[in-house]
């Protein structure tokens, strides 16, 4: 099966969001997407996996499956959860170099840039960094 590249998935998401003119429709869609999020298993939903934001909290876990990293996550806020679901759709189930090298332009293009700004403090920016850190760590492990 041909797997889509990071950018192909991003372009697909951009296309999906282009159907919505109204902000609330975009949020409705994110609420819907929040249900698709591969949830972190309860054993990992601990402080060790918590990314504390002032506005919302995010839990993230990444594990190696062969040479690919599979991410699971959760958040206490639903819109945040919807955005996580998108990030995971783009970055999960990939090999570390793809994750490390990914340039995530879709967030900006679908108008959710402010959700990944350092001032928002909702855990998402830190989560993205954490995903890349997982990739760097697993890359080192795979190279051993």
């Amino acid at each position: 099966m041909y797997a889509l590249s990071v950018n192909e998935v991003q372009d697909k998401i951009i296309q999906e969001f282009s159907l919505f003119d109204d902000w609330l429709d975009k949020y409705d869609y994110l609420i819907e997407l929040s249900n698709d999020l591969p949830l972190i298993s309860p054993e990992y939903k601990t402080n060790q996996h918590l990314i504390e934001g002032c506005q919302s909290r995010v839990w993230l876990h990444g594990e190696l499956d062969g040479s690919r990293i599979r991410f699971t996550a959760d958040s206490d806020a639903i819109i945040t959860k919807g955005i996580i679901s998108l990030l995971i759709r783009v970055l999960s189930d990939r090999e570390p170099p793809e994750i490390i090298g990914a340039d995530l332009y879709f967030i900006d293009r679908i108008g959710l840039k402010e959700n990944l700004s350092p001032t928002r403090s909702n855990g998402l920016l830190a989560m993205l960094k954490q995903m890349k850190l997982y990739a760097i760590a697993y890359q080192a492990k795979l190279n051993k």
């Binding site: 902000w23 609330l24 949020y27 909290r57 206490d76 806020a77 819109i79």
Partner: protein, 407 residues
């Protein structure tokens, strides 16, 4: 006489703008208030016609700037009815004022095993500076609890004093619950034990008349930007004798009398606490803001805000599954609330897209959130330029939130 809110709104140009294609509803006044045209004009004309550093030059502009600065100080003195202009220190804001007192009072009067009384509802600004000082000095905090309505336990408080109690630092009005604390009683009890009181007036000064002599508080602090003035200017009021006894907080220009490498002597009050080039433009802007609200009348402002609070409380309470945190009988127009099964951040994001600006999170009062075992609330903080129609917009927005999140 009633307040003409439509006329008042014309004084605040930002209230006319749109956000996400909708007319702005600004309900984040607890974080900062908008500025009337007269304040903007004061700042503009200051920089375009009068700008010069104060207390320095012999030249015309510097003297004029100094006069304006001292005039602003006098306006603040009158506004809070302090005895003397020496009791009015300009700072960067309420946080700067509290840090000044926590440091200087701590250096002079607080030692190992001494006690500082604060309350469970303090803004982090009136908590962390005291904690830092306590850590330095080996002193400890005692915390007045509040009940489910958001009312301080005065019985607990009256028994909290010991021989080691050195100061009480309590908020006049809670920024996350809206509670107006019984400060007269708090001060009376403290004084019976010979303990001075600092009041954090950051959320009180813009909602009603404050008379520091009548209150008999020892320190009173507030920020300019929360009372329609510019950012970066604040006030520390302190009784003259106390301020006289305290060592300076920061060293630098203007706070000194005579400087040699062997020994530096300090300037007289109030300059001892105003190191460096002060925010004299901010002081002038604050003066204009205080004159502006005095012109409208603080009683009229309070009366309109009470109407807004009553109407908003009724509207919010009519929403199924909505809980208001902070239900003290004495409260100002701040409404902290949550809707069952809806995260405050989700609700805030939807309201934002409807043009409604409210605060979400812990409001810099994490212990208050811990008290209720919640991670945060939505907070609508209303002031005299807000309207009943705006409250209706919030109400409709919250219904939309409920519908979207299936609550």
């Amino acid at each position: 006489m009633n307040l003409d809110v439509n006329k008042i709104r014309k004084d605040f140009p930002i209230l006319e703008r749109q956000v996400h294609g909708k007319p702005l509803v600004y309900f984040d006044n607890g974080a900062t208030t908008q500025k009337p045209l007269c304040v903007l004009e004061t700042i503009r004309s200051y920089y375009s016609s009068h700008n010069s550093s104060i207390h320095r030059g012999v030249h015309f502009l510097s003297e004029q700037s100094t006069e304006k600065y001292e005039h602003a100080r006098e306006t603040v003195r009158k506004f809070i009815n302090a005895r003397s202009a020496n009791e009015i220190i300009f700072t960067s804001g309420a946080t700067g004022s509290i840090n000044t007192v926590a440091f200087s009072f701590g250096e002079r009067y607080i030692g190992r095993d001494d006690e500082v009384i604060v309350s469970e509802m303090e803004h982090h600004s009136n908590l962390v500076p005291w904690q830092m000082m306590c850590e330095r000095k080996g002193a400890r905090l005692k915390v007045i609890p509040f009940d489910e309505q958001g009312i301080l336990d005065m019985n607990w408080y009256s028994k909290a004093f010991s021989e080691r109690t050195r100061i009480v630092a309590v908020t006049h009005v809670s920024n996350s619950l809206g509670t107006v604390n019984p400060v007269a009683g708090i001060i009376r009890i403290a004084h019976q034990h010979g303990v001075p009181v600092l009041l954090d007036g950051a959320q009180a000064i813009q909602h009603g008349q404050v008379d520091v002599q009548q209150l008999d508080c020892d320190f009173y602090v507030f920020s300019g930007h929360k009372v329609y003035g510019p950012n970066g200017i604040g006030v520390l009021y302190g009784k003259e004798q106390l301020l006289y006894e305290l060592p300076p907080y920061q060293g630098g220009g203007d706070m000194v009398d005579c400087v040699t490498f062997e020994k530096t002597t300090y300037n007289i009050l109030p300059f001892k606490f105003e190191a460096g080039t002060t925010n004299y433009v901010g002081a002038a802007g604050l003066q204009t803001a205080l004159e502006y609200i005095s012109g409208i009348g603080l009683e009229r402002i309070a009366a309109w805000e009470k109407k807004l609070l009553d109407y908003a409380t009724g509207m919010l309470q009519s929403i199924n599954g909505l809980r208001i945190y902070g239900q003290a009988p004495e409260k100002i127009s701040i409404l902290s609330f949550l809707i069952d099964n809806v995260h405050q951040y989700d609700a805030g994001m939807v309201l934002d897209k409807l043009g409604i600006a409210i605060r979400t999170g812990s409001h810099c009062t994490q212990p208050v959130m811990d008290h209720f075992r919640i991670s945060g609330t939505l907070r609508a903080s209303l002031v005299f330029y807000n309207t009943m129609e705006e409250i209706d917009r919030l109400y409709e927005g919250l219904l939309k939130v409920k519908q979207m999140f299936g609550s």
